[in-house]
């Protein structure tokens, strides 16, 4: 199971692990007995055709949908029965395949509200939220990191498509998660925006465990430390990029001579 890569000092720290994770929708098995580990300092890409179960896997890891069977561990704790908000507060951040923001709020407020979830008393009811220094500081830092510092006052709905994708990431970072589940962050992005996003992912890599679902194979092979290939809900390969590229089974099932 251990990736054949240059050894990291102190060994790998697994932040998120799933074992035997399964989701059935009636007779259809969307995700079938998937066991994976996500380590700090790694970009772990999950690839597969549409309908392979990648988004369902992310949704189960995030707690957005319940697993039919299997177990999810977050930093050594069994979180299988935890609700999504509880997992999020424990350090699990996610972005969505389809942009999922607060369009009528400003970019800053989008980030601040996300950061507010991680403050000690997010339900504080009399101090104006605009003066909540903790969430403001985190919001500014996250927006800067995602390259949005120039558009903080703009309603999020008026951002370009790429800008909205950046905001997705910024909102995710604002809660200071340990694990990032990113569902197609590059979808619909131009070449320049893709470059920026890959730089950001590389920058985030050391401190986080990153699960990256992505269709852009060039990007995946450039950034990923480990690649898992899913077909019809099952994992057919999970290995270092070179090994995955060389695998005949993957070639046949998915990559098509890439």
């Amino acid at each position: 199971m251990s990736p054949p890569e240059p050894a990291r000092a102190g060994g790998a720290e697994v932040l998120l692990r799933c074992s035997g994770l399964t989701r059935r929708w009636g007779g259809l098995v969307a995700v079938d007995d998937v066991s994976l580990a996500f380590e700090r300092g790694q970009v772990h890409a999950v690839i597969g055709t549409n309908g392979a179960g990648k988004s369902t896997l992310i949704n189960m890891l995030a707690g957005e949908i319940e697993a039919s069977a299997g177990r999810v561990e977050l930093m050594g704790q069994d979180v299988t029965r935890w609700s999504q908000p509880r997992r999020a507060r424990a350090g699990l951040g996610r972005s969505y395949q389809r942009t999922n923001i607060y369009p009528s709020f400003t970019v800053l407020e989008n980030c601040r509200l996300a950061a507010q979830a991680a403050t000690p008393r997010p339900w504080h009811w009399w101090q104006p939220a605009a003066r909540c220094q903790a969430s403001l500081a985190a919001a500014h830092a996250a927006a800067r990191r995602a390259g949005l510092e120039g558009v903080l006052g703009r309603p999020a709905g008026l951002l370009s498509h790429g800008g909205k994708r950046q905001l997705e990431i910024a909102m995710c970072l604002a809660t200071d998660p340990q694990v990032l589940l990113l569902d197609e962050p590059l979808a619909g992005m131009g070449a320049e925006e893709t470059e920026r996003m890959l730089e950001l992912l590389a920058e985030l890599r050391p401190g986080h465990a990153i699960l990256l679902v992505e269709h852009d194979m060039d990007a995946v092979f450039r950034i990923a430390d480990r690649i898992t290939v899913m077909v019809n809900g099952s994992v057919i390969a999970s290995d270092a990029p070179q090994a995955v590229r060389a695998s005949a089974e993957v070639q046949a099932a998915y990559l098509g001579g890439h």
């Binding site: 999020a88 923001i101 709020f105 009399w126 006052g153 909102m171």
Partner: protein, 344 residues
């Protein structure tokens, strides 16, 4: 920072409006006769009621179609908890009535908030109808005839206490309650709690993904809203000295929804304006002096006016200014030469 400047200007406009509205209400007793005082009291009570619903609809995105239940429970509690022919002590009667409404809201919210959208609307309606038929068909609340409040509550616990009788005492008491409720909601909606409610309104899925357990937030908002509606119900019962099942009817639930739609959802002052406009429209169409025989069909006039206002004023009365500004901007763009990018 042009954005900041624009915001400040609109904030100043808001404050000016509120100062004007509350100032006018504070000065009104100098000129108003007893009919006017009664009408203004009724408007302020409905304004409190509408504010409570605005917290749910405009603040949290929850369309409750059974809000009259909390109003009615506050009103019925006022009568039922008052001892026969002796006045009740205001200092405990008021909290008891508000508490009764809050308790029912807590129970209704706990169940209905498991649903969403149209189902939520229907479930809140069903719970309100349930409460309606409890007072309508059981001897508990005097049945269809309703019951009288024989003695108004008296504040005796503190020096300078008073009897909460109709007229000016009740006017000032209601005015104070309205100011407090408005200030409370304004503070609440700006706070982290209020921003979380706004987040739930705009995108609940994202809120949960970010780490907000949204259900307790919604339940808290629902209960607070029910409590404030109960306060309005208490004032209504004290004002009229009489309660009947109509106070829990879906007509009233609809009326208070219309008030906030008329005024403009998404703004606290919309609830004030809406309550004011609704009651005045009602008085207008009911006036025999103006409509003669036809005043018996006042609902028809009301209906058409409301349909027209919803069609013509999508942002309510509060939004008229913005609507005109947008129209001017469009006209300017249509004219071609001027740049219409600057918001008017």
């Amino acid at each position: 920072m042009r954005d900041g400047a624009v915001l400040e200007a609109s904030d100043r406009g808001k404050l000016a409006f509120l100062a004007l509205a509350f100032g006018a209400l504070a000065l009104y007793p100098l000129v108003g006769g007893s009919f006017g005082i009664g009408l203004a009291t009724k408007i302020m009570i409905y304004a409190i009621f509408a504010l409570s619903l605005e917290l749910l609809v405009g603040g949290t995105g929850l369309v409750c179609f059974g809000h009259a239940a909390f109003f009615g429970i506050g009103a019925y509690a006022t009568v039922l908890l008052s001892p026969g022919y002796d006045p009740a002590e205001l200092a405990w009667l008021l909290p008891a009535c508000v508490g009764a409404a809050a308790l029912y809201a807590l129970a209704v919210g706990a169940l209905s908030l498991r649903t969403r959208g149209v189902y939520f609307i229907m479930v809140t309606l069903a719970f309100a109808q349930m409460a309606y038929y409890v007072v309508h068909d059981t001897p508990l609340g005097g049945g269809t005839d309703g019951i009288y409040l024989n003695a108004r509550p008296v504040l005796g616990l503190v020096p300078g206490g008073f009897e909460l009788r109709g007229g000016l005492t009740l006017y000032w008491f209601t005015f104070g309650a309205l100011v407090l409720v408005f200030a409370f909601l304004a503070v609440l909606l700006r706070s982290r709690f209020g921003r979380a409610l706004a987040g739930i309104r705009v995108n609940e899925q994202r809120m949960r993904a970010t780490g907000f357990a949204t259900y307790p937030y919604k339940l808290a908002a629902f209960t607070i809203s029910g409590a404030i509606a109960g306060l309005a119900g208490f004032l209504f019962a004290v004002k009229d000295g009489f309660v009947n099942p109509e106070l829990l009817s879906w007509h009233l639930s609809g009326a208070v929804l219309i008030m906030i739609i008329l005024g403009g959802i998404g703004h606290l002052r919309g609830a004030l304006i809406g309550a004011f406009a609704y009651v005045l429209l009602q008085e207008f169409f009911k006036s025999e002096a103006i409509f003669g025989e036809f005043s018996r069909h006042w609902l028809l006039g009301m209906g058409f006016t409301i349909i027209a206002s919803v069609a013509l004023l999508p942002h309510g009365i509060v939004g008229i200014g913005r609507q005109l500004a947008e129209r001017r901007a469009r006209a300017a763009r249509g004219g071609g030469k001027e740049s219409a990018d600057e918001p008017a």
